[in-house]
């Protein structure tokens, strides 16, 4: 198992502890990661795809050409990168004219797109290639008696024809089973499948509306579960669920909403015994108490 690790922009800059957790856990579970040297922004939907489609496809194809030369599929944690690259690949494969235009753009840089490599989300790789048995066998600190909720990255669900790997698309279960493999109990709740709302321009363009949207989800989680943490597998979900709890507490003038939020690989890394100060050190809602409990320190 060998994959090209697609970093994107946010993970390496905003939450490098997630990058560290991925770089430590995946090879330890038999999934070798190689760097895609010279990769660029996926590009984000709000960038080139919102202004010039051919330019956007050329930027995606730049990334594909690196993985194609190395003969590896790309794996990414970021939901937006995953979806943007999957959609771009489909368009490039289906539209010969676009593909030619893009290859003309790439040519002077000595690059080309042929469509020989796939894009995988890290949940897909963890569940289908690594497997929950391997994960169970690698744990130093299983999560006994811990209740969690999961946040499915919307970009890995819809459009299911292009991005889907879980089934049925309307009732995904892989992230839940991965968290259960760590020993935790996953509790579902009414707004579980509501997206986090953090991607795109919603928060920027309509902060009040976007906050209320997130608060509804957090309220439901508080009322309907005894969760002690939220597990995500997307950098946007990670940042947004963390930030919005802070906003909700500011609005209510309390600190009642305080679910620690973990990227799956961060939680996995802590359970595998990797140093929490490297794999889970950056957050708004403190995670230290829970980490200390998990590692019995």
């Amino acid at each position: 198992m060998k994959y090209g690790f697609f970093l994107g922009c946010n993970v390496p800059a905003v939450r490098p502890d997630v990058e560290r957790a991925i770089r430590l856990t995946m090879p330890a579970l038999g999934a070798e990661l190689v760097d895609l040297e010279g990769s660029v922004c996926c590009p984000a939907f709000g960038a080139f795809p919102s202004a010039d489609e051919t330019a956007g496809l050329a930027v995606s194809a730049w990334n594909f050409s690196i993985a194609e030369e190395m003969g590896v599929d790309l794996v990414t944690e970021c939901g937006s990168c995953y979806s943007s690259l999957r959609i771009a690949r489909k368009k490039l494969l289906e539209d010969g004219e676009k593909r030619e235009a893009v290859n003309r753009l790439l040519k002077p840089a000595g690059k080309s797109f042929s469509g020989t490599v796939a894009v995988r989300h890290i949940i897909d790789v963890l569940y289908n290639d690594v497997g929950t048995e391997t994960i169970r066998g690698a744990l130093k600190f299983p999560l006994e008696g811990v209740n969690a909720t999961v946040q499915y990255p919307c970009h890995t669900l819809f459009p299911s024809e292009i991005v889907g790997f879980d089934s049925p698309p309307g009732r995904p279960r892989m992230l839940q089973e991965l968290v259960e493999a760590l020993g935790a109990t996953v509790q579902t709740y009414s707004r579980e499948l509501q997206c986090c709302g953090g991607a795109g321009g919603f928060t920027k363009g309509s902060f009040a509306g976007a906050s209320e949207f997130a608060f509804k989800k957090l309220d439901a989680m508080k009322k309907e579960t005894d969760a002690e943490l939220i597990v995500v597998s997307c950098i946007t979900c990670l940042e947004h669920m963390d930030r919005m709890q802070n906003e909700m507490n500011k609005k209510n003038g309390d600190s009642a909403c305080a679910f620690p939020v973990f990227d799956y690989n961060q939680l996995l890394a802590v359970c595998m015994g990797f140093d929490p100060s490297q794999v889970a050190s950056i957050s708004t809602i403190p995670r230290d108490g829970l980490i200390a409990r998990i590692t019995r320190s």
């Binding site: 895609l36 922004c41 840089a109």
Partner: protein
């Protein structure tokens, strides 16, 4: 009553060039019912945007900022019973707006032109070192000669060629 004296009858062609066939939209509202950004103020109402395009309401569309609220979740894309591809319509409207009014062109594009990324990956050395990572990630920020080639490529795209002043070396 909607004023139809000043319409662009070819608007739907300009926009649907790169998305689904919006003529199939039968106004069912499914795309709005499941849309996070429909809870914005003002709300993003994809169904209404499709109407604006079909009616050729060019001026109204050029003033409408709601397509930029989209969170890119693609729930509408999954649920639309007519294969209109509402999310693709949303992006296609943004592109049309960007072509017709340069103030719509997202700043993220010039950031990507300048650095290859939407984040300053070269300026987080300490943060990365603290978690045991290489200070500079192995992306294009580490390879200035590649960044030059990347910009060369982008200079040949319409968006950069037509708006040169926005893109600095």
């Amino acid at each position: 009553m909607t004023d139809l004296t000043n319409i662009n009858t070819a608007l739907w062609r300009e926009i649907t060039e790169s998305c689904g066939d919006i003529r199939k939209c039968f106004n069912c509202n499914t795309c709005v019912a499941g849309c996070p950004a429909a809870e914005g103020s003002p709300p993003l109402l994809i169904r209404n945007l499709v109407r604006k395009v079909l009616l050729g309401l060019e001026e109204a569309l050029l003033e409408d900022e709601t397509p930029w609220l989209c969170v890119t979740c693609s729930a509408c894309e999954e649920m639309c019973p007519m294969g209109v591809h509402p999310f693709e319509v949303c992006l296609a409207i943004r592109r049309w707006q960007s072509r017709n009014d340069e103030t719509f062109i997202p700043a993220a594009i010039s950031e990507i032109f300048e650095t290859g990324h939407t984040q300053a990956l070269g300026q987080v050395r300490e943060k990365r070192r603290a978690v045991g990572l290489d200070e500079v990630p192995p992306t294009i920020v580490k390879f200035p000669e590649l960044l030059e080639k990347f910009r060369e490529m982008l200079r040949n795209t319409d968006i950069v060629r037509d708006n040169e002043y926005m893109f600095k070396d």
